[in-house]
């Protein structure tokens, strides 16, 4: 086995995991605290990317574009919560799924009307668009390192917010027992708005971080949303810590599986069989993992206390 390749793939898995965490953190909060299944979370991811692309065009700076896109996303999330989602809290999960699925279609069409059917691109500043040399002669794309750094920073800030501040205490309390929090006289509507705005900003951050690697396209959030749901189920719904650990596990398994499974299968089967089976099996790996974890710990790895 090639150790340098393994190390590089570990970094890749870590980077994918961090991206998943940014999405999953918001989704798990919204699901855990507000009891709302928000399929349109992927649309917020898409909006983050489109906002960042537009602001980058206006300001000629990716950094400024990103900094402007974050509050825009949060504002967008707050407006969405006020107008569309507030009426759904008392409804059944099926109603929520239907309504937020409708929102996906609405946002895809909305983006087409405003930005057109052809996607956008976010050009990176020269320093970030190439690769840098790390230890042992590993060359790694500079921007992916930035994603890892930003992700770790956000995870740390979220940890501080959730475990050291008053609002964090309310969020934890909300995840454990929603009725009790509102019975204690906390303005639950305000808490919901804050949580949703925070979730939207996190999703937007994930979108704008992913945008320079991928491209900004209509429907870009839909594929990654499914994996994000896997992450929050594995991690335990409502738990940020769970989301972090599960996102890293899923990112790692997906990347390493894609990378080494064809070779491993090639040891046991003919090349043709390995070539056909490897992509199929590697794309199933995370779902197999989810099934295993659900069988052992039905609440996920780190369920919030009292949930």
């Amino acid at each position: 086995m090639n150790w340098i390749l393994l190390l590089e793939q570990t970094l890749n898995g870590f980077q994918f995991g961090i991206l998943l965490f940014l999405l999953a953190a918001g989704l798990t909060l919204i699901f855990g605290i507000m009891d709302l299944i928000n399929l349109a979370h992927g649309s917020l991811y898409m909006m983050g990317a489109y906002f960042a692309a537009t602001f980058t065009q206006w300001t000629d700076s990716f950094l400024l574009g990103a900094l402007l896109a974050l509050p825009a996303c949060m504002l967008f999330g707050v407006i969405l919560e006020r107008i569309a989602l507030r009426t759904l809290y008392t409804r059944s999960h099926l109603d929520q799924v239907l309504a937020t699925f409708g929102l996906i279609l609405f946002f895809n069409e909305f983006v087409r009307l405003i930005w057109g059917p052809i996607g956008l691109d976010i050009p990176l500043p020269g320093l970030l668009s190439g690769s840098v040399e790390l230890f042992f002669g590993i060359r790694y794309p500079a921007f992916r390192l930035v994603i890892i750094a930003v992700g770790i920073l956000v995870a740390f800030l979220l940890y501080l917010l959730v475990s050291k501040t008053r609002i964090g205490m309310l969020i934890r309390a909300g995840a454990s027992n929603r009725q009790m929090v509102s019975a204690l006289g906390i303005n639950i509507n305000l808490l919901y708005t804050i949580v949703f705005g925070l979730g939207a900003a996190l999703a937007g951050l994930a979108g704008l971080m992913a945008a320079p690697i991928m491209t900004v396209e209509i429907g870009m959030g839909e594929e990654i949303l499914i994996v994000t749901f896997v992450v929050i189920v594995i991690g335990g719904v409502g738990s940020i810590k769970g989301a972090f650990v599960a996102a890293l596990i899923v990112g790692f398994i997906d990347t390493v599986g894609r990378s080494f499974l064809p070779d491993i299968l090639g040891l046991f089967f003919s090349n043709d069989v390995a070539d056909t089976a490897a992509p199929a099996i590697s794309s199933m790996l995370i779902y197999i993992l989810m099934a295993l974890i659900l069988a052992i710990k039905p609440q996920g790895l780190f369920p919030p206390k009292g949930a």
């Binding site: 691109d121 491209t215 396209e217 990378s259």
Partner: protein, 390 residues
């Protein structure tokens, strides 16, 4: 009763002939109009409309009605839309089809059910070989051909070790098979990625770097191609390991890829600067209409309409004369953007394949230009499996 037999017959004949004269040519066009790949379908539709403009929106004196359907990039939806075109709209021609897996899922809903089926892009092996059919035509190519030409090019360049990447679906497999048919060096690595879900190629790019091939060959249509080129450059591989492609860089991605693809080499049956009168008019009018260079998808769609026109004109608008229309189409007697060509026994074009390169035009727009001819009058390798002869 009082009219008598002769009168009734003549009245009936008049009615029938009027129906025959007035019958509108109905053409279904299944493509992807929404989502990330929607831009491709949009390009094809623009080309179809341009072709109809060039024909004065009439074929053989009859009006033409287009039915555009969106397959949303999914085989199940494509099949459903195809059935709707055949059963409800009762179209005479079902055309379009970007994706091989969508075409394969939809084929049985058309062939043998009445209408002609004409693929404007997808060319999976089976429909050119064992599943060839008298009512099935192509105005594109068979998937293997373009990458077979690429294999030849790589041999000529003296490439010994090659790394291949393609998406894991019908066309991806054909493309890989095609290059393996002709490439004489060693394929030291191959990755088939999940399609269309996988857009991040970090793991595969790390493997390429570790494998140190002489060259990399990829097939990534649509948005996947753009992402691959971006990530290849971000990983620092551009300039280190030469990258060759097929159907990956097109007129939709070039304005966005710009320098990332500049100088990039690919094989193709056509290019915007292919030197013939039909193509010059097509490219010029298309640019005037849309402001963009046409893609190969657009060029093939233009040919689809022209092929149908040749059939409808040959039978004088009598759409019940299917044999007449089939015989007309077999002659490929229409102004094609690729220049004159002949159909093989399997109704796939026998045509030239070129090496083309990304260049800048006089106004600084990125486009592709033909470097040389790789194959002259090339027939696909599946034609021999097709039992049809005429």
């Amino acid at each position: 009763m009082k009219l008598g037999i002769l009168g009734t017959l003549s009245l009936a004949a008049m009615l029938i002939s009027q129906v025959a004269l007035a019958e509108t040519v109905k053409i279904g066009f299944v493509t992807t109009l929404t989502g990330g790949a929607g831009a491709i379908g949009n390009d094809m539709r623009d080309a179809v409309e341009l072709a109809l403009d060039h024909l004065g929106r009439k074929m053989g004196g009859s009006d033409v009605k287009m039915f555009y359907e969106d397959d949303t990039f999914k085989p199940a939806v494509g099949k459903q839309k195809t059935e709707k075109l055949v059963k409800k709209d009762k179209v005479h021609f079902v055309t379009g089809y970007i994706w091989s897996h969508v075409l394969l899922a939809s084929r049985n809903s058309v062939v043998g059910k009445g209408p002609f089926m004409i693929t404007s892009n997808a060319g999976p092996g089976p429909v050119a070989g064992k599943l060839c059919h008298e009512d099935f035509f192509s105005t594109s190519w068979q998937n293997d051909q373009t990458t077979m030409a690429m294999g030849e090019v790589l041999n000529q360049l003296g490439i010994k070790n090659l790394y291949i990447m393609a998406p894991n679906y019908a066309a991806g497999k054909s493309m890989v098979k095609g290059v393996s048919r002709t490439f004489k060096g060693k394929i030291i690595g191959k990755d088939m990625t999940k399609f269309p879900a996988q857009l991040d190629f970090s793991a595969e790019l790390a493997k390429i770097r570790a494998a140190k091939p002489d060259a990399v060959f990829v097939f990534y249509p649509g948005k996947h191609g753009m992402q691959f080129f971006k990530q290849y450059s971000q990983a620092g591989l551009k300039g280190e390991i030469p990258l060759y492609s097929a159907f990956t860089v097109d007129s939709l991605s070039l304005p966005r890829l710009k320098d990332l693809a500049y100088g990039s080499l690919m094989t193709q049956f056509w290019a915007p600067d292919l030197d013939n009168a039909v193509n010059k008019r097509f490219v010029a009018d298309y640019r005037k209409k849309t402001g963009r260079y046409p893609t190969f998808y657009a060029a093939q769609s233009y040919d689809t309409i022209m092929l149908i026109n040749s059939a409808v004109t040959a039978v004088g608008g009598d759409l019940s004369n299917k044999d007449g229309m089939r015989n007309a189409m077999r002659k490929a007697n229409f102004p094609s953007i690729r220049g004159p060509f002949k159909y093989g026994n399997n109704h796939f074009p026998i045509q030239n394949f070129y090496l083309r390169k990304v260049v800048k035009d006089a106004d600084g727009n990125f486009t592709t230009s033909i470097v040389k001819t790789v194959y002259t009058n090339h027939q696909d390798p599946y034609a021999k499996d097709c039992k049809m002869s005429w």
